[in-house]
């Protein structure tokens, strides 16, 4: 279970999160929607352990343990995974080398045995096949020269391989074509289990037709302004965020 309690965070003196609280239960799929610049990516970075932010208040508990003191790599080993809104290109690092290093680093951190090369190859190829990622992409440097949609697929491949228990998807749908959206969503749905939780950040109802959320949260002005079921996403699609912006101004 992920519990975020009264999180207050700033960057360069600018307050981005302003008392945000949110709980995602085991097995739950929660969606976050909210206007541009409302702090959704910031929230996802803070959960994953990016260090650029000043945390002024609050805590983030994963199964009751405060993860704010942990390095990003420790959080990953504890099961936190962020599929980036903008995946980074890492020139000179072969995708396979990176995937193996990541998987084995996590296994070491959890005191599990490392995968042998054949085991690893099979795991990658199975996951790649499901996401219709061509093999030659795996031979290239990580994300370098990948199209926007290919990068997003590669994020989900990593998620499938690393089997995290808290999956945060930051606008994974943006940049995906219609078929890719379906393929990626199926990939995500295949990972659903009663132990694994998802936090899905998106602007569009369409993704949520594929990855059906249990809860939908509206984020604006650095907090969760409203929470509801999946019908809330439909309402937002129809009405936009005018209500929430007005609410703050009042």
């Amino acid at each position: 279970m992920l519990e975020i309690k009264n999180l207050v965070a700033e960057i360069e003196g600018k307050r981005i999160l302003d008392g945000l609280s949110l709980t995602v239960h085991d097995g739950e799929t929660a969606a976050i929607m909210g206007p541009n610049g409302s702090g959704k990516s910031t929230l996802s970075y803070i959960i994953a352990g990016k260090e650029d932010y000043e945390i002024l208040d609050g805590e983030i508990l994963l199964d009751g343990e405060n993860i704010l003191e942990m390095e990003a790599s420790e959080r990953a080993a504890a099961g936190v995974f962020l599929a980036f809104q903008y995946p980074l290109e890492i020139p000179g690092v072969a995708t396979m080398t990176f995937l193996k290093a990541a998987l084995n680093a996590q296994r070491r951190a959890r005191e599990e045995t490392e995968l042998t090369t054949p085991e690893f190859m099979k795991a990658v190829q199975d996951a790649a096949a499901k996401l219709e990622i061509p093999r030659d992409m795996l031979k290239r440097a990580l994300n370098v020269g990948f199209s926007g949609g290919e990068k997003k697929r590669m994020e989900i491949l990593q998620m499938a391989l690393l089997q995290p228990r808290m999956c945060i998807l930051d606008e994974t749908d943006s940049g995906l074509d219609i078929d890719a959206l379906r393929i990626v969503s199926e990939g995500v749905n295949a990972l659903k289990s009663d132990k694994r939780s998802f936090l899905v950040i998106t602007h569009y109802q369409r993704l949520l037709n594929y990855i059906v959320p249990d809860t939908v949260h509206v984020m604006a002005n650095g907090k969760i302004m409203r929470s509801g079921g999946k019908e809330l996403a439909e309402e937002l699609e129809a009405n936009g965020y005018a209500d929430y912006k007005a609410q703050e101004a009042a």
Binding site: S73, A76, P91, V93, A101, Q106
Partner: protein
Amino acid sequence: MAEVATLKTPAETALADLFARSKSLLPGDARSREDAFHRFAEKGLPHRRVEEWKYTDLRALMREIAPLAEKPSEAGVARALSVESVFAAAEPATIAFVDGHLATADAMPAGVTAVPLAVALAQGHPLLSKLGAVSDAEGNAAYALNAAFMTDGVVLHVTGAVDRRVALRFVTAGAQPVATATRVLVVVEPGAAISLLETHESPHGVAHQPNSVVEFVVGDRAKVAHVRLNANGDKALALSTLTAHLGGEVAFGSRNVVAGSAVSRHQVWMTFAGADSRGAVRGATMLSGDQHADTTLVVNHKATGCESRELFKHAIDGRGTGVFQGRINVARGAQKTDGQMMSAAVLLSEEGTMNNKPELEIFADDVQCAHGATCGELDDDLLFYLMARGLPRPEAEALLIESFLGEAVEEGLDDEVVGEALMGVVEAWLAARG
């Protein structure tokens, strides 16, 4: 004697004394040695007010002059060569030098002959007329000192396509600091090809002073792949010079990996004398502690249609200092020259320093030349991305440094075994960094 009048510092006086004592014992024509020493003595040890030595003040760095190394005993040779070479997996035909003297030599593969330099000097070997083909180096202090003191080395005459790698291994051994001066002349006949590996090794904790010069004279349509590794000990002061005189339609590549020495200076003069040649010079330098490494490069485009690519990478940890001075000269008439020079440094600590000085001097109008220099820290966003996937910080850093250096170490090498051996050196450095 002119030199006595101009040489003032104790180190310079010691060099003059050393030369006076040694010259009659060194092989070959004493006269050309005297001329060379004279060229050195006119200016003495270069210091920071000499533009080309601005960042590497040899006068300050070379206060002690080590005695010239004597020829080692058989036991000394065996000891010095008991450690396996970094390039062992490449199974090269190896000529090994211990303390600057020829020690052991494998039979050379077809297409290349080797004559020990001491023998060549003593006999007045005709190929020696090719020494100094790149005349720009002549007045340079390190080059002139090497010319005055050169003790041994080898003349390689490449007459065909050599299908086995040739390695030159220079080991300076012993617990007392010594100076060595080795000279290698590689004459590559038109259409011939060679892959030459060069390593420089010495023990930690001893302030050896190796001074090495390698000169390539490359005929038309010939191919040269040259890889050099500075794996000297942490107290060594290593001076090295590479000159390359290229004919037409040549493919020449040289890369230098610096993983050792307290102070090193690697100088490169590459001259395009024939049309439509390609020359690529790369370098990767890893520094920590108080290490200082200088790469000074001059590329002379004197012919039309040549392409030069220079890429230098520095990873600087601790209080290390990196220097890159690179200059591309395009002579009048060297039209259609395509020259690109890039230096990139990554600073891994607060106290590291990088000095970059790239320059272009162009006297032809139809050319494409560019240079760039960057210096920065590891990218925090990339580090975060890797860490968010579970790589602990040291591993994430190592992966980024390895990929950063890899471009200069193994890319474009076209020799996987050698590339892997060099990346092994990078990995060892990263592992030692912790």
